[in-house]
Symmetry: C2
Subunit: 287 residues, 2 copies
């Protein structure tokens, strides 16, 4: 999808948050805001939201001299979810439909996103929602399981640190459901709190999937711009799981048996999907 | 007070809302966002928030060709509150402390502000809060009544359309409390939904006070920048009531027996005042 005009003020807010994460120097915060404000008139209306964020982060990193402002936040998020991993496993094993519960948990995990201004209330509150059987506002779970029934190779487009620990659990359940080969795609370089190879290893994704960096520094894996190697893998995959809002914004017009797992974290995405902010989405790319 | 850096992304959001109020043309919306984004690096950190808004609105008006984008919203707000005026009068006359209730209503009226992104839930909800005896987070009412006891001339810095109808009721109560001469200051030109002479006349302020336009197009009456005539009046006033966030931002460092009546409508003002967003404030400029 193209960016909305509302993405522009939102980007400026995000730039300020990133600057603050990178340094306490208020002069640098102002330099970042000024520089990103100056970029705004240059953005083509055809750019996808992750593409404008990508451009902004290059400037933010260059000004702050910090190429990974949310480094600490990412480590903390991974550790926080790893600490409750046994609890998550129990939630899954206690449930009547293990895979469905793991899907819901993976969507819940998508709350851990430092891009949009979205307050999900912390991990404990998230788990409470899941325990109280949160319902999906868009629920293509049946289509998803049918797709898995014929799936040998699954490509999983990861999103954020912390969230990927929930993804690990879902991948375990997918593999328990059926013997499926899973490839887990991470960002090539740090951007926002998106997971890179390092974060994925820390989350133990390598225990359940083959991790593949996408080579890029956008806060999304943009299928149409992937390397030829990744393109080949994408084409050979029977099912793609696309996690999060950035990957949805990047790939919503693709048709490749994609299932979008996300929480709608801003008004515009919610409106596009016909849901409310905060809603849980498991959406097939096919009608 | 000086602007916070957070005021800059907020301003860009506000520019977009103003552009949408002025026209449905999306190309013009983008022109406005681009132009205000370009202005951001030029803003001195010493400017007060109403001063940066003032500069932005000049550009917004020039691009949209509309010098009063919230014209209709202002008329509607005045009419909506005038329609419930008898109900407001009854709330005051039924209460144990008429003046205190009128103060609370005047602060409630400050919710009708199209500047910050603040959702107060509509007028009915406001009145419910007041009926359920909302408490003031900062309450210098006792100081206020003591000041009124020695007051002959009161200057009232008005804020928004709609809100000024609540102000009219408070002025009636002030005059019932004691025979006080009241001057009501409005903006010299339209900006956001701030009240001008036209709006004040529509609200019937002329029935209770002498209306004085401040000659400026800032969304505040900035005491230090007033015309010599208004300065003289300010100096001769025994008490000043300053309504709203813009007037607070403009005059928080003044000492002229000012009472700030406002709701805290953004995180930064709330933090400055040591209160929560949405809180009701009646604050003296004296310790």
């Amino acid at each position: 999808m193209k960016s909305y005009i509302d993405c522009l003020p939102c980007l400026l807010n995000q730039a300020l948050r990133a600057a603050r994460a990178a340094t306490d120097d208020e002069h640098i915060h102002r330099q970042v805001v000024d520089a990103v404000a100056e970029m705004i008139p240059t953005f083509s209306p055809h750019l996808k939201p992750p593409e404008i964020t990508q451009q902004a982060y290059r400037v933010i990193n260059s000004i702050t001299g910090e190429n990974d402002p949310f480094r600490r936040a990412k480590v903390e998020a991974n550790n926080a979810v790893l600490a409750i991993y046994p609890k998550l496993e129990k939630m899954v094993s206690d449930s009547t439909d293990r895979l469905y519960t793991a899907c819901k948990l993976a969507i819940a995990g998508n709350s851990i996103d430092l891009g949009p201004k979205f307050d999900y209330g912390g991990i404990d509150k998230l788990l409470d929602s899941i325990s109280n059987s949160v319902s999906l506002a868009i629920d293509d779970y049946e289509k998803f399981t049918k797709s898995l029934d014929n799936c040998r190779k699954l490509l999983y487009l990861g999103d954020n640190a912390g969230e990927i620990v929930f993804d690990r659990l879902l991948i375990e359940e997918i593999k328990r459901y059926r013997d499926i080969e899973v490839y887990f795609v991470v960002r090539g370089k740090p951007v926002i709190n998106d997971a890179t190879m390092k974060d994925a290893l820390a989350a133990g994704i390598d225990k359940v999937a083959t991790i593949i960096p996408n080579g890029a520094d956008a806060p999304a894996t943009i299928i149409s711009r992937c390397s030829p190697k990744l393109q080949t893998l994408l084409e050979s995959a029977d099912v793609i799981i696309s996690k999060g809002q950035g990957n949805y914004e990047a790939n919503d017009t693709e048709t490749a048996n994609i299932f979008f797992f996300l929480r709608a974290k801003c008004q515009l995405i919610a409106k596009t999907l016909g849901v409310k902010v905060g809603d849980y989405i498991l959406k097939s790319d096919r009608e």
